[in-house]
Assembly symmetry: C2
Homo-oligomer: 159 residues x 2
């Protein structure tokens, strides 16, 4: 088990210089009541099953296991719709310590771009790139699990 501490921000697409290479990620969530999220993720020729405990602040328990890609594809059939389809870019932070994971969403979440940074403690400092927008760490709208139920295209007008 790992404890995941991360902060999440919107990205100003005009200022963000998109790297050539990204990782295409497909992921889905098995339905549950939210005590523990069960995520199926495929990245190219790798796949993972991840269990995530309820979020406490910006920290959550996470259990991740590699699974066969074929299993992931079959498990997607059991996941709620829409599946999450995004390209992930890894951007080394200027502080030389952290790495930004920038996700550009497609499909029903097209238009959304989110940057995440993983921290070792909740109050750890990190450098902020110029393309970093509003922080959305605590906002459930931006949880990938919620984007798989209420995608961006459906709530554009609410925010």
């Amino acid at each position: 088990m790992a404890l995941e501490i991360e902060r999440k921000f919107l990205v100003d697409e005009k200022l963000f210089r998109q790297p050539e290479k990204g990782i295409r990620v497909k992921q889905g969530y098995l339905q549950g009541d939210g005590t523990m999220l069960v995520r199926v993720r495929r990245q190219d020729d790798k796949a993972f099953l991840t269990l995530k405990g309820k979020t406490t602040g910006i920290t959550r328990a996470e259990f991740e296991y590699p699974i066969p890609v074929d299993d992931a594809e079959k498990l997607f059939e059991f996941c709620r719709r829409p599946l999450i389809d995004k390209t992930r870019y890894l951007i080394p932070a200027e502080d030389g310590v952290h790495t930004w994971e920038v996700d550009k969403f497609f499909g029903e979440n097209e238009g959304l771009m989110i940057a995440e940074v993983e921290l070792k403690s909740e109050d750890e400092a990190f450098s902020r790139p110029e393309w970093l927008g509003r922080e959305v760490s605590g906002d459930p709208h931006y949880y990938n699990s919620n984007l798989a139920e209420h995608p961006f295209s459906e709530w554009k007008d609410e925010i």
Copy 2:
């Protein structure tokens, strides 16, 4: 992924000769809406995470992955109560082909004993030992996932 086909019976404890050695099994279920069950199981020094699709007749899709024992213990904290505590006995069937898995339950399911046989097809023949009782394959009461929510001790009078 495997397709699991199994038939399940009550056991006549008076006729059943309990082997000396059994496998103590502790298992729990992460809450979910039933589309897919997520089971955590520990057997001695081994542990598994298992996803089971909705039952169709006596067949269901099953995905099983070994996980660290420490993870299993932590995941039990997220499982609904009571956890399933049972000893499993493996009894070779007289037909020389099948193996009976006989589970003797403890805790809130004390008094219950269930035998299961795994088959390759739904109509496959198998030999029936003398201690085999009533078939309960289709009865949701006897699903381990339901015994973890409505244990035997609570429904003795209903059956």
